[in-house]
């Protein structure tokens, strides 16, 4: 037990600086500010848990994957710089599994994407075609750009599917029955047309696409679809798959 008050506080300060506690706490606070989580105590607990992970060889890959996924969950993809930082950290973590660096192994990358999709609430059957475009084999080395693209696409896809589910609820008949097939297809048709606008510079493309999905245009399409479209109903799963197809058709296959 150190004697005297002055020595005690000196001793404390020395102990703290030796342990690097200042850096630890600063890092934790910075991460918390970036993530702005609703549960600060839970967040800090997770953060320190991650830091404390033991790197024993058996569970190393799983540990690193968990830590990488934790980082990827911190910021929404719309928070550009925070998301990019987190992707970089996750990539560097996963890179530790390959002895010489040079890229994340294909299977680990694919596994990361699968986890992201399922955590984002996308059913496996819906995300399967997307993963087929993005996946890599075990013997392939995934560079950072491809990793970032894959991760961003899965994050965006989760949002897209959630939005499609909301859209289906809106398009359903008011008595909570399934949506009419004609209506569902007509509405998705406007999205398809807007996505196919490809001429001209960006500004013109955005203007033209937005004209195709304006409320006015949709009102006309819905009225038209009601009278002229195919008969029968469309359940939520089918609608989701049709919407997913529009997105996945535009995903660049990784090679």
């Amino acid at each position: 037990m150190p004697a005297g008050k002055a020595t005690k506080s000196d001793g404390d300060r020395e102990f703290l600086s030796q342990a690097g506690v200042g850096e630890l706490l600063r890092g934790a606070i910075l991460k918390m500010v970036e993530a702005r989580s609703d549960d600060p105590i839970g967040f800090l607990a997770d953060h320190f848990c991650n830091l404390a992970s033991v790197t024993d060889t058996g569970a190393q890959e799983q540990q690193l994957l968990n830590r990488a996924l934790w980082h990827l969950r911190l910021a929404h993809h719309s928070q550009r710089s925070a998301f990019s930082n987190n992707v970089r950290v996750a990539y560097d973590l996963l890179n530790l599994t390959t002895p010489r660096g040079g890229g994340v192994s294909g299977s680990l990358y694919t596994h990361t994407l699968q986890c992201l999709c399922s955590e984002g609430g996308v059913p496996a059957s819906t995300s399967a075609p997307l993963l087929r475009c993005l996946h890599c084999h075990n013997h392939e080395a995934v560079p950072y750009d491809v990793f970032r693209y894959g991760v961003l696409t899965c994050a965006v896809f989760s949002d897209y599917i959630r939005q499609a589910q909301r859209l289906y609820a809106e398009v359903c008949s008011p008595d909570a029955g399934p949506a009419s097939r004609a209506l569902g297809l007509a509405v998705l048709g406007t999205l398809k047309e807007a996505l196919e606008t490809s001429q001209g510079c960006d500004a013109i493309r955005y203007l033209e696409a937005s004209a195709k999905i304006s409320p006015y245009k949709l009102a006309h399409v819905m009225v038209g679809g009601q009278t002229q479209g195919p008969g029968g109903n469309m359940d939520a799963k089918e609608f989701e798959n049709e919407a997913a197809e529009l997105f996945i058709a535009r995903v660049k296959v990784v090679s």
């Binding site: 390959t98 002895p99 010489r100 040079g102 890229g103 192994s105 294909g106 890599c136 075990n138 013997h139 392939e140 080395a141 995934v142 560079p143 950072y144 750009d145 491809v146 970032r148 693209y149 961003l152 696409t153 965006v156 896809f157 897209y160 939005q163 909301r166 859209l167 809106e170 398009v171 008949s173 509405v187 406007t190 999205l191 807007a194 996505l195 001429q199 001209g200 013109i204 033209e208 696409a209 937005s210 004209a211 195709k212 999905i213 304006s214 409320p215 006015y216 245009k217 949709l218 009102a219 819905m222 009225v223 009601q226 919407a243 529009l246 997105f247 995903v251 660049k252 990784v254 090679s255």
Partner: protein
Amino acid sequence: MSDGTDDIKPVACTVKPPVYLQIGDAKTDATHSGVCVVDVTLPFGKPVNIEEITFKNYYTAYVTVRLLRRSPGQDAPAKWCTVLRDLRLMDNPHTEGGSQDYYSIHRTQMQAEPDHVVSIRLILRQPSSAWLTFSLEEIRVFPHVEPDPEKEVSDWLSDLMLMDQHPDLEGLPDPQTVSSSIQQMWALTEVMQSNQTTASIGRFDVDGCYDINLLSLT
């Protein structure tokens, strides 16, 4: 009108060597007649609608343009017609004026429509004895291109103008909310597309060959 030719490429054509017409016996007593014929053949099987013929003069005083036209259709006969007679290229055939100028003959100057043209014959005349050799150089034929219909921008813009016709939305979902959802889905797809990378996957290399631990047996 002619600003279009900056973008249009000339048709690939074969310019035959000029044939000087001689009076009298070819071998013994040939005299220069001051008339020369240059044939320009267009690619076989692909008749051209001519927009413009451009060339550089080389001491030719007058040029007459004749076109061999074949109307589209099986076995339609090909017919020669004169579309431009004695276009003056040099103010005075004896002097230098206009002798090496660039000229362009547009379809509007021609007396007949230069459509479905298979071959062009340029008849050059130089009556002056000062210039015994004369011809046209850098002959280029530009095809007539239909102007692009300018509907891309105005089509959907004019749709926006018709805002006062509100359809009857009995029993249908609110177009505002549906539109808002679709717009978000469109925006998400745009984000994905704009972040596409051109990078490609690599292979794990150990001194130029695969690392055995990373090869899978499946």
